[in-house]
Symmetry: C2
Subunit: 232 residues, 2 copies
């Protein structure tokens, strides 16, 4: 990918959106690239945090492993999302592992390089704060859901969240454009593979979802899912 193509991608990201074009070109020029095949990891939880990344295209799943060997899915990241920055800002090791769920291209900058850019263009700091604030809001929402709602509602909410972030409209409904296993959903909602499977089966019977085994999930009746997610 040449600098120009990189700049075009960056201009579309929330993080660099609205910046002067010349600045974005310069930032794009400073980036290195990396291409991940499905199941490749960008870095490992526990590694020293050295780089900021931004997803150009593709999709990453951000996993956190607990001390006792369990796994939770913190989020999925798509084009324009920043990866690793929070850890770099805090000067702590990366707290989670990003794994490609499909072929994914990322750009990267060293911590130092990004610091230079941020002091040169202070608006970047504001963007970074907006990004972190959004992350806080999302985490608080999930904490609230998992604390107060039962499993079925949480699964519905998780699917809707993914749809809102990455859904692709088709003629029959909204498609989740990357492979999403029952296990993934279980680890996003704090439940088990089995319960997710049962719940999705019921929804498929009801005609709310469609999901031939390995193909991508399609939400046929988003409205019905929202109803489930909000039912008192």
């Amino acid at each position: 990918m040449d600098t120009e193509a990189r700049a075009a991608v960056l201009k579309r990201s929330a993080f660099f959106h609205g910046l002067n074009a010349a600045i974005v070109d310069k930032i794009a020029a400073a980036a290195l690239e990396r291409l991940l095949k499905p199941n490749e990891t960008l870095f490992q939880q526990g590694d020293p945090s050295t780089h900021h990344y931004i997803v150009a295209w593709g999709r990453l799943r951000l996993d956190q492993t607990t001390p006792d060997g369990k796994n939770i899915v913190l989020r999925f990241m798509g084009p324009g999302d920043l990866v690793g920055s929070v850890a770099v800002f805090r000067s702590i090791p990366y707290p989670a592992t990003p794994t490609a769920v499909e072929e994914t291209r990322v750009f990267q900058w060293t911590s130092d390089r990004m610091n230079e850019l941020m002091s040169e263009y202070p608006v970047l700091a504001a963007k970074a704060m907006a990004m972190m604030g959004g992350r806080i809001g999302e985490l608080q929402e999930r904490l609230q859901q998992i604390s107060t709602q039962q499993v079925e509602r949480r699964i519905a909410a998780a699917i809707l969240r993914i749809v809102a972030q990455s859904g692709r409209k088709t003629d029959v409904g909204v498609e989740i454009p990357f492979p999403l296993s029952r296990q993934d959903l279980a680890e996003m909602t704090g439940t088990t593979l089995h319960t997710v499977s049962r719940t999705l089966s019921a929804w498929i019977d009801e005609g709310v979802l469609e999901g031939k085994r390995s193909s991508h999930l399609v939400v046929l009746k988003p409205h019905r899912l929202m109803q489930i997610a909000e039912q008192a």
Copy 2:
């Protein structure tokens, strides 16, 4: 409180720690104060976010009410903690309500005033990011706990987190220096009042805790609590 006293408080806070003394004096001079009696709220969830606050002394409980009327405790805030800033940065209404659990004094700055200060002293932006990053880390940790651990472990972890943030050493153990009800603990850990009560009763029997009804909780055997929190 005069400017000098305010500056002394600020210098001890994580947010302003390490700044040039003259700068802190100036910031202190720009602050207004507010004094809250127990159970008074600083603002309401849903109010437009207009001010940044910092706790001078006392203690706030940050509550979030869900659309269906349930309540969760996001955190307790003590001296030096920033309140409201994340919402102000994001230009969204305050997402939660801070309530004083004891007499509490806060300083406040308008959004505009703080923006001026932050552009004048860029190091403040870095401090704000560190604060937000810490919040993200804490939320991820709680999400992970509530997703994977059973209730007893979560309650132990919640008590230990409070002890780490606000514990006061006494000759018999560590005291939590503000009133903390079973209900509060339930809303912090995503369980019920009843389960918390049963669990604490068992611990009191075991000699791990001490907590005459209305008096403050004292952890007699922190080590034992840690053991419970970490048991596989």
